[in-house]
C-alpha cells in the first residue's frame, strides 16, 4: 500500500524546514525577547500541532510514503519515509512540542544565559533534527540527524555555561551521545550486510547470519540505550536534564528519549525483521532493573528537576521492559500478545511524553517564580500559583499511574501482556515473569511515593522560605501550554480505545497483526486476546464523579453546618512553624533506609550538644565509583604508559625508527 504521491511526507518535510526557518529568523534580532517569545515560539508551536495533524492523518491512513532528496553521500541520496511507526512518534513530537513551545514562548526571558535568538535557533534546530530522525530512511541521514539532535540539545543544555557543573553535565552528555552514535554506526555497518547499500530498504532485504544479527541488535541496544538513559548507560541523564532550561528539559525527557525508543523498535523489529526470542531478555532485564533503579533514586532526590530526571529513567525502564516483552513474544511466535506488549510500549511512550513535559514545565514555572530548585526551600505554592499547582496535579496523578488517567492505561496493558508470559515455551522466561511483574508493580507503587513527595513538598504545606510569599503564577502562554498537555493526559486516559485503534497500523507493520477489540462498545477497552478482561475509563470516571458528587450533595443537604477557619491544631503542640514539616530528605528517609545498598551516602550529623545543629546528606550513585571513574582512571594510566614513549631524547626517537626499520625489513624478508 505504497501511495505514489508522498503528499503527507512532503508536508512533514515542509514543517521541519519551517522549524529551521523559524530558528534562523531568531538570528535576525538575537537580543529581542519579544520577537522570539511572542512570535517565533508560538509559531513553532503551531507548526508542531500541524505536524501532529499531518502525522496523525498518515497514521490513520496507515500508508507508506517515500521520498528521495538529492543530498547526502554520492550514491546514497537522502531517503525519507513516512510509515506508521514514524508517524506515531511524529505525532508524539508534534503534540508535546506544541505545548512546550507555547510555554517556552512565555518562559525565556532576557538575561538568562544565551541570547533569546540563539536559544530560539538551537531550540528549533533541536525540534527539526528530532523530526528528521523519525523520517530518515537511510543510515547516513539517520545518523546525521541523530547527532544534530544531540549537538543542538548539548548547546541548549550548556546555555548557562558559566557554571562549572553545567559544563560538566554537557560534557558527559555529549560524550555518551557520541559513543552511542559510534555504536549505532557500527550497528549499521553490520546491518548493511555487505550490500554496501545504506538505505533501510536494503537493510530489510539483507540476510544476516544469526551471529551478525545478534551483534547488530546488541550494538543497537547499547547505542539507543545510551540515548534513552537505560541503566547503566544513564549517568548523563540526571546531570543534563536538570541543567537545561525547563522547556528544553521537557523536550529532552518527553521527546528526545522517545527517539531512542523509536530507533530500537526500528532496528529490532523492522530492519532486523525476525528477532530471536532471547534478544528480548536483554532489554527486558535491563528495563526492569532501570525501573527499580530510577525510581529509588528519584525517591531520595532533593532537587525537583533531578527527581523528575530519575523518574524519566524509571519510565524509560517501563518502555524498554515493554520492548523486551514484545521481542520475546514475537520471537516465540505469540504474535497477538506481542502486539499487545508493543501497544503498551507505544502507549507508555506517548503518555510519558505528555506527563513528563507537563511536570518539567511545572517545575519551570516554579523555578521562575521562586528561583529555587531545591525542594527544601519550597512549599505551599498551591496558594500562590493555583494554575501551575492544579495543572501539575493532573500530571502528578497521571505519572503515578492512577486511573482514570493515562499513566494507568499503559501500566494496565503492560501487566496484561505480562500475564501471558507463562505461554512462552522457555522455562527461564516463565521464572523471570513473576519477578518482572513484581518489579513493575513495585516501581509503579514507588512512583506514587515519589510523586506524593514531589507534589506535597513543592505545592502543599507551608512555604519553607519567606521569599516564597511573593511568588507569582505563570503567564498566559505558559498556562495554555500546560493546559494543552494536561488535556492530553486526560484524553489519552479516557479514550484509550481510539488511541489503540490508531496504533493498530503500527502493530500491523511491526508484528503483522493488530490487537482484536473484544468488545463492541466504543468506551470499553478489551484488547486482550481470548480473555474476558476489559477497562472502561469513561464509565469509571463518571461512576467515581457520580458517587463523589452524590456524597457532596447529600452531606450538604443533610447537614448544613458552617465551616470555621482556625489555626492548625497539630495535636495541641505550640505555634506551628514551617520548619516543623517534613523535609524532602525526611520524606526519602524510609527508602534510603530500606535500600541503603543502592546509594552511596555521606552524612553530616549534628553532635548531641551542638549549638547550631546542622544536618547534611549527599547521595551519589555507586555506579560512578564502580564503573565510570575506574574506566577514566584506566585510560589515564594507559595515557601515562603511552607518554613514556614520548620522552624527549632524540636518540631514543631515532632508535624507534631504527628498530621499526629492522623489524619491517625482517618481516618483508620472511614473507
Amino acid at each position: 500500500m505504497i501511495s505514489q504521491s508522498p503528499t503527507l511526507l512532503v508536508g512533514c518535510l515542509a514543517l521541519l524546514l519551517g522549524w529551521t526557518a523559524i530558528g534562523l529568523a531568531g538570528l535576525l534580532r538575537p537580543r529581542s525577547v519579544r520577537l522570539a517569545g511572542r512570535v517565533l515560539f508560538p509559531l513553532g508551536a503551531l507548526l508542531g500541532f500541524a505536524l501532529a495533524a499531518v502525522a496523525g492523518a498518515s497514521l490513520l491512513g496507515g500508508g507508506f510514503e517515500r521520498l528521495v532528496l538529492p543530498l547526502g553521500l554520492p550514491g546514497l541520496p537522502m531517503h525519507l519515509r513516512l510509515d506508521p511507526l514514524s508517524s506515531v512518534f511524529l505525532v508524539l513530537l508534534g503534540a508535546s512540542s506544541g505545548g512546550i513551545s507555547l510555554f517556552a514562548g512565555g518562559y525565556f526571558r532576557a538575561g538568562e544565559g544565551a541570547a533569546p535568538g540563539l536559544l530560539c535557533l538551537q531550540y528549533h534546530l533541536f525540534l527539526a533534527s528530532m523530526g528528521w530522525v523519525l523520517i530518515a530512511d537511510d543510515a547516513y541521514s539517520f545518523l546525521v540527524a541523530w547527532e544534530a539532535m544531540a549537538l543542538s540539545s548539548y548547546f541548549l543544555v550548556t546555555t548557562q555555561h558559566r557554571l562549572a557543573e553545567i559544563r560538566r553535565a554537557g560534557f558527559v552528555y555529549l560524550l555518551m551521545a557520541h559513543v552511542g552514535a559510534l555504536c549505532l554506526l557500527l550497528c549499521f555497518g553490520v546491518l548493511q550486510g555487505g550490500s554496501w547499500q545504506f538505505t533501510f530498504a536494503a537493510m530489510r532485504a539483507a540476510h544476516l547470519s544469526a551471529g551478525w544479527a545478534s551483534a547488530a541488535f546488541l550494538l543497537a541496544l547499547i547505542g539507543f540505550g545510551a540515548k534513552a538513559g537505560l541503566v547503566p548507560l544513564h549517568v548523563w541523564l540526571p546531570e543534563a536534564h536538570p541543567a537545561a532550561p525547563s522547556p528544553v528539559s521537557a523536550l529532552m525527557s518527553g521527546v528526545m528519549l522517545k527517539t531512542a525508543v523509536y530507533g530500537l523498535l526500528r532496528v529490532g523489529l523492522d530492519l532486523l525483521g525476525h528477532p530471536l526470542w532471547w534478544w528480548g531478555l536483554v532489554p527486558l532485564i535491563l528495563g526492569l532493573f532501570t525501573i527499580f533503579y530510577g525510581v529509588l533514586f528519584a525517591a531520595v532526590q532533593t532537587d525537583m528537576k533531578r527527581l523528575l530526571a530519575y523518574s524519566s529513567i524509571e519510565n524509560i525502564g517501563v518502555v524498554f521492559t515493554g520492548i523486551g516483552l514484545t521481542i520475546v513474544f514475537a520471537g516465540s511466535g505469540l504474535q497477538a500478545v506481542a502486539a499487545l506488549a508493543l501497544l503498551a510500549t507505544l502507549y507508555h511512550s506517548l503518555n510519558h511524553a505528555l506527563m513528563k513535559s507537563l511536570l518539567f514545565l511545572g517545575t519551570g514555572s516554579v523555578l521562575h517564580a521562586t528561583g529555587e530548585r531545591n525542594l527544601g526551600r519550597l512549599g505551599g505554592l498551591i496558594h500562590r500559583m493555583p494554575w501551575v499547582a492544579w495543572l501539575t496535579l493532573i500530571g502528578t496523578l497521571a505519572i503515578a499511574g492512577l486511573p482514570p488517567l493515562n499513566g494507568f492505561v499503559s501500566e494496565w496493558l503492560l501487566l496484561q501482556s505480562f500475564l501471558f508470559a507463562d505461554h512462552v515455551p522457555h522455562a527461564f522466561v516463565n521464572l523471570l515473569i513473576p519477578m518482572g511483574m513484581a518489579l513493575v508493580v513495585l516501581g509503579a507503587a514507588l512512583a506514587g511515593y515519589v510523586m506524593v513527595k514531589f507534589y506535597g513538598v513543592i505545592f502543599l504545606g507551608q512555604p519553607r522560605e519567606p521569599s516564597l510569599a511573593h511568588a507569582h503564577d505563570c503567564g498566559w502562554l505558559e498556562r495554555i501550554g500546560l493546559t494543552w498537555l494536561a488535556l492530553g493526559c486526560l484524553g489519552l486516559g479516557l479514550f484509550p480505545l481510539q488511541v489503540i485503534g490508531a496504533l493498530g497500523s503500527v502493530t500491523t507493520q511491526l508484528i503483522g497483526t493488530r490487537v482484536a477489540q473484544a468488545s463492541a462498545h466504543w468506551w470499553l477497552l478489551a484488547p486482550v486476546p481470548g480473555r474476558p478482561v476489559s477497562y472502561g475509563p469513561l464509565v469509571f470516571l463518571t461512576a467515581t464523579l457520580a458517587v463523589v458528587l452524590m456524597t457532596v450533595l447529600i452531606v450538604r443537604l443533610a447537614y448544613r453546618q458552617r465551616v470555621r477557619r482556625a489555626p492548625a491544631w497539630d495535636c495541641g503542640f505550640g505555634a506551628l512553624t514551617a520548619r516543623m514539616q517534613d523535609t524532602a530528605e525526611g520524606f526519602g528517609q524510609p527508602i534510603r533506609h530500606l535500600f541503603q545498598a543502592f546509594f552511596e551516602i555521606e552524612r553530616e550529623l549534628p553532635a548531641p550538644a551542638d549549638r547550631a545543629p546542622r544536618y547534611r546528606i549527599a547521595i551519589r550513585e555507586r555506579i560512578w565509583k564502580m564503573a565510570y571513574e575506574p574506566l577514566a582512571d584506566a585510560v589515564e594510566r594507559l595515557a601515562d604508559v603511552a607518554a613514556r614513549v614520548q620522552q624527549g631524547r632524540i636518540s631514543v626517537y631515532l632508535l624507534y625508527s631504527f628498530i621499526t626499520l629492522l623489524v619491517l625489513l625482517a618481516v618483508a624478508l620472511m614473507s
Binding site: 549537538l151 555504536c183 554506526l185 589515564e636
Partner: protein, 485 residues
C-alpha cells in the same frame, strides 16, 4: 601551461619576497602570489576534469585525478593560510616575537614550501618526488625555529634529524625501486623512475626487492606522515612553530607524504599480490590512532593537542588505505581532504585564541565565546567537526571507514571505536572550558582573519551534507587508481 605557472609562480614569489619580504605590504604580496597559484591550480584542475590525466614536460610531470585534487587542495589551503597569516604575523611582529628579517625569511620560505609541495605532487618521477619531499623539510625547518626560543630550536632540530634520516631511507627505497625497474625497463632508461612506466609494468617487478623497497619508502615517507612510532617530531614542530606553519604542516605536508606512501603502495601491491603492504598500513594506522588518542589526554598546549589529533587522523586515513577497495579508498581520500580543511581552520582559530590569551597553555585560555564569539564558535565547531560529529565532512569519511571496517576487518572495529571515544573525551574535555566559562584575555590590534576559518568550515559542512557529483566521480576515479583488494 597552467602547470608551468603553478610551479613557477611560487618560486617567483619566493624570490620576490626574499627581497621585499619585510615590507609593509609583504603579507598582501604573499597572499597575492598564493592567489595566483590557486588560480593556476584551478585551471589545471579544470583541464584534468575535462581531458582526463595529462603527461607533461617529457613525461616528467603527470597529473591524474589522484594528485590533481591534492594539488587543488594544497593551493587552496595555501591561499587561505596566507590570508590568515596577514593579521596573525602582524600581531606577532608587534608583540616583538619576530624581527623584520625573520618575517622576510618566513614569507619567502612559505612560497618555497608551497613550491616543493606542488612539485612533489605533480612530478611523475619518484626521484624528483623524493627531492621535493626533502626540499619541503628543508624549507620548513627554519620556519619551525622562527621564534628562536629553546623549544622551537629543539623542535626544529628533531624535525630536521628525524625527517632527514627518514627521508634518507626513502631515497634508498627509491633506489631499490629503480633497480627493480631497471631490470624490466632497461637499466639506463631515464624512464625507470617514472611512475607511469612503473605502474605499467608493476606486475613484473621482482617481489622481494619491491617488498624491501616498500619498507624503506614507508619508513621514509611515513616519518613525514607522522605514523607512530615515527611521529616523534610532529607534535614538537607543530607546537613550537608559528601557527600558519602548523596549519600547512598539518593540512598539507602530511597529506603529500601520505600521497607518496600510497603511490608506492600501489606499485608494491601490484607486484606482490600479498597482504603485506595492506597489513603494514593498517598496523601503522591503528597504532597511530590508539597512541595519539591516548596522548591527547595529557596535553596542556593547545597546538600540541591538535598536532596529536593530526596524527590520529592520519592514522585513520592510513588504516583506510590499508583496507583498500573502492569504498575505503574513497573514504580515505575524503578524509584527507576534510581533515586538512578542518585542521587548518582549527589551527587558525587556535592561533587567534592563543594570541588573545597571550599563551598556548590551555588552562589559561578561558571563555573565548564571551571574549570573541566568532573565534569561540570557530574553535567549538572546528573541534566538533574534527571529532567526527555530523553534519561535518569528517563524519562522512569516518562513517564509511568504520562501516567498512566492521564488515571487512571486524577485529579492528572495536579498537577504532574505543580509540575514537577516548579521543573525543580527550579533546572535548579540553576545548569546552576554553570556549565556555568566564573569560580571560585581551582584545588585539588587528581583527582576526575569520574568512579562512569559516570558509573551511563551510566547505567541510558542505562535504558532510552534499558531495558534488563531479567531485564524487573524481574521488571514485582516484580510488579506482589506488585499487586494492
Amino acid at each position: 601551461m597552467a602547470l608551468l605557472l603553478l610551479l613557477v609562480l611560487p618560486v617567483l614569489g619566493a624570490a620576490v619576497l626574499g627581497v621585499v619580504g619585510a615590507a609593509r605590504r609583504a603579507p598582501e604580496i604573499n597572499a597575492a602570489f598564493s592567489l595566483a597559484t590557486f588560480l593556476a591550480a584551478c585551471v589545471l584542475t579544470a583541464g584534468v576534469i575535462r581531458h582526463g590525466s595529462l603527461l607533461l614536460g617529457a613525461e616528467q610531470f603527470f597529473i591524474d585525478p589522484f594528485n590533481v585534487f591534492l594539488v587543488a587542495l594544497t593551493a587552496f589551503v595555501g591561499l587561505t593560510t596566507a590570508l590568515f597569516s596577514r593579521p596573525y604575523m602582524r600581531v606577532e611582529l608587534e608583540h616583538g616575537r619576530l624581527t623584520a628579517g625573520r618575517l622576510r625569511l618566513y614569507h619567502s620560505m612559505y612560497q618555497l614550501f608551497m613550491f616543493t609541495m606542488l612539485l612533489a605532487l605533480t612530478t611523475n618521477n619518484m626521484g624528483l618526488m623524493w627531492v621535493a619531499m626533502e626540499g619541503a623539510t628543508l624549507s620548513t625547518v627554519l620556519l619551525v625555529t622562527l621564534y628562536r626560543t629553546p623549544g622551537s630550536l629543539e623542535a626544529g632540530w628533531k624535525y630536521f634529524i628525524l625527517c632527514g634520516v627518514g627521508i634518507a631511507q626513502a631515497l634508498f627505497g627509491t633506489i631499490l625501486l629503480y633497480v627493480a625497474a631497471g631490470k624490466v625497463l632497461g637499466a639506463q632508461g631515464m624512464t625507470a623512475l617514472l611512475w607511469t612506466h612503473l605502474d605499467a609494468v608493476k606486475g613484473q617487478l621482482e617481489p622481494t626487492v619491491l617488498a624491501l623497497a616498500f619498507v624503506f619508502l614507508l619508513i621514509g615517507y611515513g616519518t613525514k606522515v607522522g605514523l607512530v612510532p615515527l611521529h616523534s617530531w610532529l607534535p614538537d614542530a607543530h607546537a613550537e612553530g608559528p601557527t600558519p606553519i602548523s596549519a600547512v604542516l598539518s593540512g598539507l605536508l602530511l597529506n603529500v607524504a601520505l600521497y607518496a606512501v600510497v603511490r608506492s603502495k600501489v606499485l608494491v601491491e601490484g607486484s606482490l599480490h600479498s597482504e603485506l603492504p595492506s597489513m603494514m598500513l593498517m598496523g601503522f594506522g591503528l597504532l597511530s590512532v590508539v597512541l595519539a588518542s591516548l596522548l591527547l589526554w595529557r596535553q596542556r598546549d593547545i597546538k600540541r593537542l591538535f598536532a596529536y589529533s593530526s596524527i590520529e587522523h592520519m592514522g585513520i586515513a592510513t588504516f583506510a588505505f590499508g583496507m583498500g577497495g573502492p569504498i575505503a579508498n574513497f573514504a580515505a581520500l575524503l578524509h584527507m581532504t576534510v581533515h586538512s580543511l578542518t585542521k587548518s581552520s582549527i589551527f587558525f582559530t587556535a592561533g587567534h585564541a592563543a594570541q588573545k590569551a597571550g599563551t598556548q597553555l590551555m588552562e589559561r585560555i578561558r571563555g573565548l565565546i564571551t571574549l570573541s564569539p566568532t573565534v569561540g564558535w570557530g574553535l567549538m565547531l572546528g573541534s566538533l567537526a574534527i571529532l567526527g560529529v555530523p553534519p561535518f565532512g569528517v563524519f562522512t569519511s569516518e562513517f564509511l571507514i568504520l562501516t567498512t571496517a566492521m564488515r571487512t576487518q571486524p577485529w579492528a572495529a572495536p579498537i577504532l571505536l574505543a580509540a575514537l571515544a577516548v579521543a573525543f573525551a580527550g579533546i572535548f574535555s579540553k576545548v569546552q572550558p576554553m570556549v565556555f566559562g568566564e573569560t580571560s584575555g585581551r582584545r588585539l590590534a588587528h581583527p582576526p582573519a575569520l574568512l579562512p576559518v569559516f570558509a573551511h568550515l563551510a566547505l567541510v559542512l558542505l562535504l558532510g551534507l552534499y558531495i558534488p557529483p563531479y567531485l564524487a566521480d573524481w574521488y571514485r576515479a582516484a580510488a579506482h587508481l589506488i585499487g586494492g583488494p
